[in-house]
Subunit: 110 residues, 2 copies
DNA sequence: CCATTTTGCCGACAAAGTCGTCTAATATCT
DNA sequence: AGATATTAGACGACTTTGTCGGCAAAATGG
């Protein structure tokens, strides 16, 4: 009974960012990946709200980690993409891929 | 002075659909492309609202065509992606591409 | 303790997505 | 011509996503 819902753009990027960082990754690390790779500058609130919504849809799960011994090293919430999340990502990616097919030249040059 | 705005998912797909149909294409033809390639079933209202917004952002332009000699062949509005639209598409595509890089295996198999 | 830092959450609001329905323009049937 | 069917387009309402700023909690360093 897989949903047929499609991902919003930021949700799409977020899921991908978690994926490429591996499991049990923290919000700020995900933000870093988004900054480096996608050129985004998401505010903290943006991250958490999106995480919440994605978790509610069952596309990711989270657990609280342990505090770390640094200044302000509060325990972080660690996120992981679920199988349903992978499915959603796959659907969204395939649609985009199908539409981009043959238009790749647009991505090249400056 | 390029905008830094990012495209929503449907806007992204829509722009791509126009592009691969060539210029001066009608809403219903775009819908057809979306149906075939991306597996979407957009309602008519969905199409026009999105066209309007995209046009307002300067990402596409439109002109009224002529009536066609078919039953109910009312004049259609014909859409074309603008240079700014291409830019936006490029930005959005590059971000997604950067994030998908190395995760392509997800798209394969059923 | 108090200041500082890092993380997480909440509230508010803007932007995008989606649908159903009403109206206009056209062609066809009788 | 008038009625009817058909196609396109606009509107209004509402849901979902995107985005921020600021507050509270947890932790460390002086």
């Amino acid at each position: 009974m897989g949903h047929a819902k499609s991902l919003g753009e930021f949700e799409h990027l977020l899921l991908l960012a978690i994926l490429r960082q591996g499991n049990d990754i923290s919000a700020m690390d995900v933000a870093g990946e988004l900054r480096r790779r996608a050129g985004r500058e998401p505010a903290r609130g943006t991250m958490y709200v999106t995480f919440d919504r994605l978790e509610q849809k069952g596309y990711l799960s989270s657990i609280m980690g342990d505090p770390t011994p640094e200044r302000g090293g509060k325990a972080k919430r660690l996120y992981t993409v679920t199988p349903a999340g992978l499915e959603a990502l796959k659907r969204a990616g395939q649609a985009l891929q199908a539409m981009w097919q043959g238009q790749e030249s647009l991505l090249e040059d400056a």
